[in-house]
């Protein structure tokens, strides 16, 4: 079988795809300067309602107050029902939310943050190995 121009084209396309795909794995960015520090209690996280406490700070490490934060929990497996909770601000920059983990396994928690000036920010953390009851 001779290596026709078509075959060379296919091979080059595959090689190009390999290089493109290798370089396009998205990375986490913190471009808007909003940082989040969170704790989850009780530990270890179990199926049931967990309290997620988190603190929002801006680029100058000042607490971010007056934000509306919706917390979303997603299983690592697709096709599972997400869970939602609205966070309440308990002190300037400090928020808490009650999130009901519905099954064991690895969860991803998303923070949909709407700042007081209307700007929207998203943050994501992993909650590994939520234990079944």
């Amino acid at each position: 079988m001779a290596a026709s121009p078509c075959l060379r084209g296919v091979l080059m396309s595959v090689a190009l795809l390999f290089f493109v795909a290798s370089g396009c794995r998205p990375a986490a960015h913190d471009e808007d300067g909003i940082s989040i520090e969170q704790t989850i209690a009780p530990q270890p996280a179990r199926v049931g309602t967990e309290t997620i406490s988190f603190r929002l700070t801006d680029a100058s490490h000042q607490p971010v107050s007056g934000a509306h934060v919706q917390v979303e929990g997603d299983m690592s497996h697709p096709g599972m029902a997400p869970v939602f909770a609205d966070a309440t601000e308990v002190s300037p920059g400090s928020y808490t939310a009650q999130l009901p983990f519905t099954m064991g396994g690895d969860w991803v928690v998303l923070f949909h943050i709407t700042l007081s000036n209307g700007r929207k920010v998203e943050r994501q953390i992993g909650v590994k190995g939520v234990e079944s009851n």
């Binding site: 079988m1 026709s4 078509c6 075959l7 296919v10 595959v14 795809l17 493109v20 795909a21 396009c24 794995r25 998205p26 199926v47 979303e72 997603d74 299983m75 690592s76 497996h77 697709p78 096709g79 599972m80 029902a81 997400p82 939602f84 099954m103 064991g104 396994g105 690895d106 991803v108 998303l110 994501q124 590994k128 190995g129 234990e131 079944s132 009851n133």
Partner: protein
């Protein structure tokens, strides 16, 4: 084709031929005769027509997998692959037949390539069996657990790209449908599962084939003036219609339907799993009783369904922790390797070995150990299919609507939100509806396994059919109870490595 085992059935040849004729003559329904659907499937370009949308979806999945959201439940690659594709595939096999192979998008790329690339190599004779796809099938199940493929759109996209690359390489080098018949793990899954399907591609009237001189169904048709110009392909998987039995190795490509000059090939109804109850010489396959590779495929298909579900429930982590402490190993790959070996190799060897021993000792079946094991291994495939249905059906039904918000999100991500804001609360059917379905699938699988085992036992031991049946019935029931136990365990899905 591998080593030969003696013919096992004590039924006379005359009985068996009559039995097979009765089986083959049962043609009460022909899908190709159904208005609209029949003419569509009978259209020469029907396969391409069905492949194009799936190919387009595959491209979108790859792009979203590489460039879209990193969160698995929000990415088209992971949602469509691990929720919708797997579930739709097994449900289509249950309700009709091997429809995924019919609409296989990988074959569209391969057929396109073969417009210019004409392979000349024959697939190596030593590899004309199912051992490579069995290893690949287990490898896919292993990689799924080890790398948490379900949790990584990026890895899922690479699996799709790898599949396209593999078929282009194999079928770019080797003639006929070498990839489908000797390599494709999805294809082998479909072939063995489709033994329980209600439809098969088969001849309508055997007498028409008796008078046929051209055998176009397997040879195809070529330009009279130039034998190099193929007008219509014959079966690329070496299934000669008059001698074809059942769905094993049939991709439902319908080449034989289009090639037959007598319009004598249809998609006919038949007894689901009936092909497992008989052992004729099948075109392109031989006798099941002489194919220890296909018997091994049936075993891996059944026990693999247990392993795949076991990896998704809480007790697996307790077992893994116990193995780590008992054997002082930390490597997740090693722990999983031990688990897979135990469930897919050791467990079947012990259970089938015990059943074979009882069958020979109690029912007086005189055939060798391996021969008895091979014969009854096929009886396990309906139960395995029931478990795959229960598992994949669960994800499919409980996550049925998730495609809506994920598609909405995909359009929004490219700055074209024509479907509106994602409605992430759209998930699927409630568990209270789905769980009875799952147990129904398992019961259906158990019933199929018991029926096949009974028929085989009845043929093998006219004097003591119950004694020959009992060990295999007991094995099926034990495995069924394992399936029920697995389905009632709390789900616990951890992406152990590499999830992005």
């Amino acid at each position: 084709m591998t080593r030969q085992a003696p013919t096992l059935s004590p039924a006379t040849d005359q009985d068996r031929v009559a039995e097979e004729d009765e089986f083959l003559d049962a043609q009460p329904f022909d899908l190709l005769k159904v208005p609209l659907l029949g003419p569509l499937l009978g259209w020469r370009h029907s396969r391409t027509f069905l492949q194009i949308p799936l190919f387009a979806v595959s491209v979108v999945m790859v792009l979203d997998g590489f460039l879209g959201p990193t969160l698995s439940p929000k990415n088209l690659a992971t949602v469509l692959t691990w929720v919708h594709f797997r579930g739709a595939l097994v449900l289509a096999i249950l309700c009709a037949g091997n429809l995924f192979c019919l609409a296989c998008p990988f074959m569209l790329a391969r057929n396109f390539m073969r417009r210019w690339i004409h392979p000349r190599l024959a697939w190596p004779r030593r590899l004309r069996n199912k051992w490579i796809p069995i290893v690949l099938f287990v490898g896919v199940l292993f990689a799924y657990e080890l790398f948490g493929l379900w949790a990584s759109p990026w890895l899922t996209a690479w699996v799709i790209v790898g599949y396209f690359a593999a078929i282009l390489i194999v079928d770019g080098l080797f003639t006929h449908a070498s990839f489908c018949k000797y390599v494709c793990p999805i294809g082998q899954f479909n072939f063995i599962a489709a033994t329980a399907s209600p439809l098969e591609v088969a001849v309508r009237d055997g007498e028409v084939c008796d008078d046929c001189k051209t055998k176009d169904c397997i040879r195809g048709r070529r330009e009279p003036s130039s034998q190099l110009v193929v007008l219509q392909r014959g079966c690329e998987l070496a299934l000669f219609q008059p001698a074809k039995v059942g769905n094993m190795d049939c991709t439902f490509c319908l080449d034989c339907v289009h090639a037959c000059p007598h319009d004598n090939v249809g998609i006919l109804s038949r007894l689901p799993a009936g092909e497992l109850m008989i052992d004729p010489n099948r075109s392109g396959i031989g006798r099941f009783s002489r194919r220890n590779d296909i018997a091994a495929l049936a075993i891996v298909f059944c026990f693999g369904s247990l392993m795949n579900a076991f990896g998704m429930v809480s007790p697996v982590y307790a077992v893994e922790d116990w193995l780590r402490h008992a054997l002082h190993i930390q490597s997740q790959a090693a722990v999983l390797g031990i688990l897979f070996t135990a469930v897919i190799v050791v467990e079947p060897a012990l259970l089938l070995g015990l059943a074979v021993w009882i069958t020979r000792a109690w029912a007086g079946v005189k055939n060798g150990w391996l021969a008895v094991a091979i014969r009854y291994a096929y009886a396990l495939s309906p139960l395995g299919f029931g478990m795959w249905l229960a598992h994949y059906g669960y994800h499919f039904f409980t996550g049925l609507y998730t495609i809506v918000p994920v598609a909405q999100n995909a359009f929004a991500q490219i700055g074209w939100p024509i479907l509106g804001d994602p409605r992430w609360t759209w998930v699927g059917l409630p568990k209270t509806v789905v769980e009875p379905l799952e147990f129904g699938f398992l019961l259906l699988g158990l019933a199929g396994s018991l029926l096949v085992a009974w028929r085989l036992a009845h043929d093998d031991s006219k004097k003591h059919p119950v004694r020959a049946f009992a060990p295999w019935a007991a094995l099926s029931i034990v495995l069924f109870l394992c399936c029920v136990w697995l389905m009632t365990q709390p789900m616990d899905m951890r992406a152990t490595m590499g999830a992005g």
